[in-house]
Amino acid sequence: MNCGTPSPDQLRPALGLSSFNWNQSMDSLSPIFPLPASGEISSFMGNPLNSMHVNRLMQFPADPGFAERAARYSCFSSANYGAFSGVSEAAGKPSRVSSGHCLKAKESRMQLEMGDGEFGSGKEDSSVTDPASVLGESSAKKRKAAAKRKLKVTVENDLIAKKSRSAESTEIEKDSGMPKEEQNVDEKKQGKDDGTKASEPFKDYIHVRARRGQATDSHSLAERVRREKISQRMKLLQDLVPGCNKITGKALMLDEIINYVQALQRQVEFLSMKLATVNPGLEFNLENLFAKESLLNQENASFSSSLYPMENLSASINFGHQSNEESPIPFTLANGIDTHCSIGQLDSILHQAALMQSSLDMFGSSASQVENLWDDELNTVLQSSFGQNQEIGAPSQSFHGQLSIPHMKIEL
């Protein structure tokens, strides 16, 4: 997924919502946005992804703006199919395949979600501060381009927003632009009656022009702005909910959205039921948990900064051990004790656990077992990622064989 960086002035107006975060995200994005394009990874996961990209592209309607957006977010949409597969088979894609490999899709999805989080949490959604480009453009193509820019930006934005909370600082400076916009728009509205479709060059406030043959009073203009915003968001939702490409109209679209949300909630219920049955004792394998988390954490530089000393760790973790499981790792998190565990602490704890885990691995019989377990689980997770759910037990043996990376590609 290669999201280019539109210039801030395009960006600003293109974002019909609280646009403050996105500029700064754009600036800081380019060095940071990690495209998993390294050789091994692409060979490992790239081929299925590329083919999926192509497949997705074929599907989308032949609208140029839409196709471009589809190209960028093919993973994104394919992942939707996967998630939704349990509910409707009409997705038409091999659900496993799509739900799987798109870790990038999850990323983009999550990023989209987080970017939406940014604009959703901004409560200064004055109805007037709509981007001129969206309003001034009457053609659907331009609107799609604007929405695409917005999507692109949200994707990039989320990456930054979650990584570093420096979003807040730039929010403030963009926020100062907002009250100005309102006033300027009001002035502008009174000043026009001929109403052209072109939008003025926007500096730091949004000009709203009345369209030709339409009312020029501020109320209808504000309403138009609001309607445009709502339609933008409905378009985003249309991308999210699978199978809604052909549905026009707010009520029907809302219907689909409601059904989809209910379906997702039902799926969560069902999966929690499944989890409850799968794991009767629910003695969570600490090695399992911590191994995965630890390896995740070890790669991540940001967590290494929050290392606590070992004494602190043992002190904070050495609670009573209610479930008498024999784990080679000498610490557990007790049940029902008020541990004041924030996520940050949890991170550091898990990191420490990782270190201890890895040091324990070097000696002790658990090493080979952990490795086997890890292999099995990795295998499973990979398989689920790559859309193969048949006979999980059987391939695990083949996994232990001599499986090379390109070989693996073929198998999966």
Partner: protein
Amino acid sequence: MSKVKCLQIIFLITMQAADLSFHRIFLKTMFMGLKLGVSSRKMSYQERKRVIKLSANIAMAVAGNGMNWSRALIIRHAKHEKNKVLLRSLLGRKRYESITEPGFAPLNFTWQKMIMKRRFRRTNSILRRGAHASNGATARVIARSMAKKRTRTLKSLVPGGESLDDLSLLGETIDYVISLQTQVHLMRLLTEVLSVSNLSPNTKGGIS
């Protein structure tokens, strides 16, 4: 085993490169919740399912931080007595207190206001329909009421949506839908992983 290790590392690198901080936060919170909430003593299936669902929802809410629905979801769960202990330990005391304190503006919606609004709306639309009974207007009014009805159900679905206006409601649903999708995906992965480690004979203390 070196090739397998290669694959593991590649898998992890892709996970890292994709920066799935949402996933990471979700998984951590979920594991934490499961660890704290489920003990071997509790044999009841219903209770276990409840704890798992609670963990999953709280994990999603924690991972989707900064959104209106996130806070509303946590508050909704915090109302039940049974969940309070688990919530407090999952979130940390400070966060729990700050979230559950009343007085946040959109959530401080009064039911009185809503009832009045509804009554006003209904009488208005009835009057309008009776007074100007032309075809076009009726169709539009009906369409509007359809949309309004659906908006109302959407508000009931999305946590914290009752006090939002149309525009921000849509924004919230976008976010909520995405995180629901991620939650479903992660939970599915989790069930698969756990069921596999059930099958495999080599699990040391995996499922005991």
